[in-house]
Symmetry: C2
Subunit: 241 residues, 2 copies
DNA sequence: ATTGACCCTTACGTTACGTCATACATTATA
DNA sequence: TATAATGTATGACGTAACGTAAGGGTCAAT
């Protein structure tokens, strides 16, 4: 397929395809004598992947890394994307609810706090940044930051370990040393991974807050989330930014 | 409220607030002696509006115009935004379905055409661009384009007229001269307004295709959409880009 | 042989901030 | 109350993901 054909099929511009070629994100499998780009079916499948990731807010650079990674698993990626899309829909639903409430609010029918006016927008409200620092202190966080800072390609495994650490202490008093250490590591890890769109971590932030909410979240998102996190991070962060 | 406070409340960066001030999109109602920005409750409400529009993909320039327009009606805007969010959710649902099908497809459980692989992404598939040109020809379109080109602030009313024209011919043979003229105008108008995110026109494109589908769409989206279109366009396009 | 639709590359423009750098203001703490 | 820590302001340059010409080949059809 030639550029325009592809562009029309998927609903993007020709320039976009040029751009993706330029940055090496999607190089057509073949070209004609005259230098025309020819996209294979495999290319189209890859493009679908790219667009899913893009829809989820991933920067093209990261998408490239993902796809280039030899450990990339398409099936797995699809499942992850589905989960993220579902997460996104939740957020959208929250926004819709917010707006409906706002409509009533403006009519004077109900009351709303300022905070409520921004549900669905803000992920900063899940207090993972602030509360983590409040509860465990900058020192602990910074310390475990150092510990984790040296991670290389084995980040995935390390992630795995940290997750299980965390899981193993979740029945303890969150104020206990073990819990603090585990939570600090977990927090640091997320911080390190950083820079992913909200959907990736939506719901996760709350895990740090306290044991009860943590468990609630595990329930809410199920094992799937944990698995997803391990897999995702294993893949995403395999070589640091 | 000072910048950081606001930023944390709504989940955006301080820089973003600075930026919005720079471009005159959101100027704080007050400032301290030292030049610190102080945001009022009214400012916060406006910010909420801004973020809703932003979420829907509106460029900041357009948002500014919208808010600056004296005929801007907050209540109305909220309702519009809600409709657009609902539209966006539909699209998201389509994507989720697509990805679920793709997962099955990759397992070899079902078959998918290339087109089906991109449902939810592409709005180019609703053939409003291509089919309109195919059916009514570039000449017709260009002609009515000229007719419409002179519109000024009264675009809203003109829009109204066009809409009713269109409504009044929808029971006619779409091949009839009247229908063609009306449809051409409508199409041109959309074209002229142009540059809005897909959600704005989602579903509308199909209206041009033929009488049956046109009616179906009116049913599907209800009168609300038509009203929304008139209002929205009246507001949005009141002064040409 | 020429037209019109399509393709190429090069290159500068644009949007919405991110990211310093530098400097004054305010608040917390010793 | 001195001093550090934190918050804020104004530049100013950087970036991401294309948009938008400009200038010039290519290919199918007439």
């Amino acid at each position: 397929m030639k550029v325009k054909e592809v562009a029309e099929l998927v609903g993007i511009s020709v320039r976009t395809l040029h751009h993706y070629d330029e940055i090496g994100l999607l190089t057509p499998d073949d070209t004609t004598e005259a230098g025309y780009r020819l996209y294979s079916d495999e290319n189209i499948a890859t493009l679908q992947q790219i667009l899913f990731f893009r829809e989820l807010g991933f920067p093209l650079k990261k998408i490239k890394k993902l796809l280039d990674d030899p450990s990339f698993n398409r099936q797995q990626a699809f499942e992850m994307q589905r989960d993220m899309l579902l997460e996104k829909r939740k957020r959208l639903d929250a926004m819709i609810e917010t707006i409906e409430q706002t409509i009533q609010h403006e009519k004077g029918e109900i009351n709303m706090t300022n905070e409520e006016k921004f549900k669905g927008f803000d992920f900063s409200h899940n207090p993972y940044e602030q509360e983590a620092r409040d509860r465990w202190g900058d020192k602990a966080v910074d310390e475990s930051k150092k510990k984790v800072a040296g991670f290389g390609p084995e980040l995935g495994e390390e992630m795995n370990r940290i997750y299980f650490n965390l899981a193993s202490v979740r029945h303890l008093d969150p104020a206990s040393d073990e819990a603090q250490a585990a939570i600090g590591e977990w927090y640091t890890m997320l911080n390190k991974i950083g820079n992913y769109p909200p959907e990736v971590f939506a719901g996760l932030g709350k895990m740090y807050v306290d044991d009860e909410r943590f468990r609630k979240n595990i329930d809410q998102f199920g094992e799937g989330l944990a698995v997803f996190m391990r897999d995702a991070m294993g893949v995403y962060a395999s070589r640091n930014s």
